[in-house]
């Protein structure tokens, strides 16, 4: 998408997607699927995820057996004693999983969080250099 395409476009309201399936039963409360952008550069792969309401200490990134799991807990925005007049979205835990390839250097993954967007930088492993094998004459 080019920059100019963004300019005159009006944002369309979209309901948050709830997590469906087996993962939901492990925990009470609502769970939502964060929207992500994933792009690849020469040296790394970057994942951006919209997780509004998540503080850095409530963000969990887990990587095992090449499965990357992102979880973010959200504190309820509304305080006690407030009565709803309009309720268009729910709040709850964000949850999403991805399978990574082996080409990620798992020890150098970096995560940051700003204004409700997580940025995860996954550096690629340096490809093994091609080697030329000499055949020894007998």
């Amino acid at each position: 998408m080019s920059n100019t395409e963004n300019k005159d476009k009006n944002l369309v309201a979209k309901e948050k997607t709830e997590v469906t399936g087996p993962a939901e039963q492990t925990r009470p409360g609502r769970m939502y699927v964060p929207e992500v952008d994933i792009f690849e550069k020469d040296a790394d792969i970057v994942l951006l995820a919209d997780m509004p309401g998540v503080a850095a200490e409530d963000l969990e990134i887990d990587l095992r057996d090449n499965v990357l799991t992102i979880t973010g807990d959200v504190q309820a925005q509304e305080k006690e004693g407030q009565v709803y007049m309009i309720r268009e979205y729910g709040t709850g835990r964000y949850y999403r999983r991805f399978t990574l390839s082996n080409d990620i250097d798992q020890s150098k993954i970096q995560a940051s969080l700003k204004n409700g967007v997580m940025r995860l930088v996954l550096p690629k492993v340096e490809k093994a250099k091609p080697r030329k094998i000499e055949v020894q004459a007998a």
């Binding site: 963004n6 399936g21 952008d37 309401g53 509304e78």
Partner: protein, 151 residues
């Protein structure tokens, strides 16, 4: 493009799992009556989705605007109408090839009409972790008053 990323399809919205999820929500609805899921279907259809609450003194307006710079959010009040506008900028990365592109940028403009007038001078807004909160104190004449009954 290489196949670096595999979503777990049963955790998304489509397919058999999505169908099961919808069934579960229908059963929830039948068992517990209207809940958030059914209420959420009645949105104004305007970005951003908004929650509005009130207590005796204030109205509270909440909206999720992840990735926005607070300086790009415009808030104005006329009488009992609050208007939120701005632009969510998502700049494409230079020299990157995309595997997923779900986050959307663009402009928005939404008005919300409250039940009573508010004290426009005392309205406060803050933006924490991508969530906008606007606190609008009700106008003095709109606040509920306790009336003592004389014996």
């Amino acid at each position: 493009m290489t196949g670096f990323w595999l979503d777990f399809p049963w955790e998304g919205q489509g397919g058999v799992a999505g169908e099961l999820g919808r069934m579960r929500r229908t059963l929830d609805f039948l068992a517990n009556g209207p809940s958030l899921a059914s209420e959420a279907a009645r949105t104004a259809g305007v970005f951003p989705l908004t929650n509005v609450t009130e207590d005796a003194d204030n109205f509270y307006v909440y909206a999720e605007l992840p990735g926005m710079d607070p300086a790009d959010i415009n808030i104005s009040i006329t009488g009992k109408t609050l208007s939120l506008s701005g632009e969510r900028k998502i700049d494409p990365e230079e020299g990157a090839s995309y595997h997923r592109k779900e986050r959307k940028g663009g402009q928005f403009n939404r008005t919300i009409t409250l039940k009573t007038n508010v004290d426009a001078a005392k309205v406060e807004a803050n933006f924490v972790h991508g969530v906008l909160t606007v606190v609008l104190p009700k106008a003095e004449e709109a606040k509920p008053r306790q009336i003592a009954v004389k014996g």
